[in-house]
Amino acid sequence: MNVTELIEKATTRIKDFKAWVALDSGNLSNGQQLAVKYFSVAVILFVAQILFGLLAAAQFIWPGFLYEFLDFNVNRMVHINAMVVWMLYGFIGSIYWLLEDESQTEIVGLKLGNLAFWVLTAAVTLVVLVYLLVQIGPGKDSSLWLINEGREYIEAPRWADIGIVVVMLIFFYNVVATFSKGKWSGIAGVLTLDLVALAGLYVAGMFYMTNITHEQYWWWWVIHLWVEATWEVLVGVIMAWSLMKLLGVRRKIVQTWLYIEVALMFGSGILGLGHHYFWIGTPEYWLTIGGFFSALEPIPLVAMVVHAVYDSGTHAFKNGNHPALAWIIAHAFGNFFGAGVWGFMHTLPQINLYTHGTQWSASHGHLAFFGAYATINIAFFYLAIQHWRGNVWMGAGIANAWRWKWALGLLNVGVLGMTIAMLVAGYEQSFIERAVEGSSWGGYFTAQNHPSFQSAMSWRLLFGLVTAAGLGLLVWDLLTTGKGETRKAQEITQH
């Protein structure tokens, strides 16, 4: 078969697929059309995240699996990088989604925004291909510039770092210019300041340093201040806007709450950074500061749960998009348990001394990233699909409602199951490797070889498969839900 035939075949397939999903971009505004591009890539990366997570999980059970072909370090890197990037795609998409509605005007710099999307997507594709095909390089600067920087979560080679900053600047320009042309609101103000912090912090992680203490010091400026500060405020913004749209909550109420959340989130989260500075060589005062402020970190998350549940209650759960609201509520609880409770469990230095760098961290990481960020992005995917199909009915009695319900159930049960399995493994590691054997390599392997650790890893893989099943169902549902629905969405008015 020659190339032209192949291309032809591919084009027909794409056409067939488009006819089958039957989505109409004519239903969307310009900003929303850009948003759904980001959402589509986000879903693809979500699938990649789960796939490489499964490979890495399998290697804990069968260490010889793909040895020297796709080693654990490669799978794990793709797993966590795909996660970070799909969440960023989801956030950017969500903001483009609400931008025109919130500013009451047409998006400024649409062409630039589209260009940035394609540049970013091409760069992400290239980075992943290099991760998979080249994997490692010699101990030279060129490896850090072209292959990977070898630092957890921000492995992207430096050329990509610079590209990401440029794309973020374009995105930032679009947001600010659009609000400036249209209307500023409290939500817009918080969002703008948060994006300055988000983009600025990334730069802190772009330098090479011989001194590993200094390097990890700045590295945490990106990781912690993103995940536990700017991202949390970003989802606060997204949550505030969606509560107005989904439930008809009054603007004054959500904005007041948003300010309270910002105060609590930054007030605890910025100095809560200290809980990463216990053991990397930094001065002892971080033990006190980090311990104290990170103990406060769950408070804003409690506030968010109260907020979401109270608003839903006062509006008697009357809303225009059941799957989206269900995921918003999953977000409120997931954020509280995953980021708040699971984080607090091992954040105090007295506990962290034994749990740091064990499966405890992985347990917390899984529940927190899913609960805080995956959930709210999924809520927006449902919002997008509803409008993509022409603002169709997505309340009670939609066709094939079992799919979104089972996807919600399987994904949540899957992630919770993995979390508990890794918590068991983490406890065992803390006792045997850390407390009894004093963290020697021998102690490490004694813990890894223990039956309770190994059975926990099997449970983790099993629940990983449950998660994957949930994701498969979610993708299927997103492609088909609302197809052929003729009723219009329920009218939601502010009261």
């Binding site: 260490p63 101990g139 001194n211 904005q255 930054f266 060589g281 001065p283 392997f445």
Partner: protein, 198 residues
């Protein structure tokens, strides 16, 4: 209509949010400047790179309930003494190699990274290297051909061959030795060094 109480007003919380954020960030900046100056290589918490010429051990301090690093007599690497600049270059090569080979996505360094392989923070001092005479040679062999020299402790988990050259292996060993001298506030707890075993 009643007057709106302060705790329910939007503008009050807006101001609180701004002041709390700005205040926290300011404190963070001040602490950052102090932390960075206290942790420059050559200080008490993070020793100079030439520490690779010395014996590094830990001593348990009853009063502090933690082990603190003790830099002892000469203990050369690869049979020679390195000047501060040579040591810095060697550690730098090791650090760069650890990143280029993506060590951190299996191992943890200073407790951060992945959990598929042991922590490297005090790996230089691990009693798994049997004794100080064998240590250097075992490390070199292991890094350059991890599959043949694998020590899996019955776990079947093997480090893959990462194409580490002799120079890179020396750099990595120097990096590990230097890193083991960093005062990590007693982490990991109850760690017994190779000297304690001897």
């Amino acid at each position: 209509m009643n007057e709106e109480p302060l705790w329910a007003s939007e503008s009050f919380w807006k101001k609180v949010a701004i002041w709390v954020t700005a205040g926290s960030f300011l404190i963070l900046v001040v602490l950052t400047l102090d932390s960075l100056s206290q942790t420059s290589a050559g200080g008490t918490r993070v020793p100079a790179y030439a520490v690779i010429n010395k014996k590094i051990d830990y001593q348990y301090q009853e009063k502090l309930h933690k082990s603190i690093p003790v830099v002892g007599e000469d203990e050369f690497l690869f049979g020679r003494e390195f000047s501060e600049e040579e040591a810095r270059q060697l550690v730098d090569l090791g650090k760069k190699t650890s990143q280029a080979k993506n060590c951190m996505n299996c191992h943890t360094l200073l407790g951060n990274g992945a959990y598929y392989a042991p922590d490297l923070t005090k790996a230089w001092l691990d009693k798994g290297w049997i004794n100080t005479e064998l240590r250097e040679d075992m490390l070199m062999k292991f890094l350059m051909d991890p599959e043949k020299n694998a020590r899996t402790y019955g776990s079947d988990r093997k480090m893959p061959n990462l194409g580490i050259t002799e120079a890179e292996a020396k750099g990595l060993i120097a990096f590990l030795k230097w890193m083991s001298s960093i005062d990590t506030n007693g982490f990991p707890y109850n760690f017994k060094t190779i000297y304690a075993e001897e």
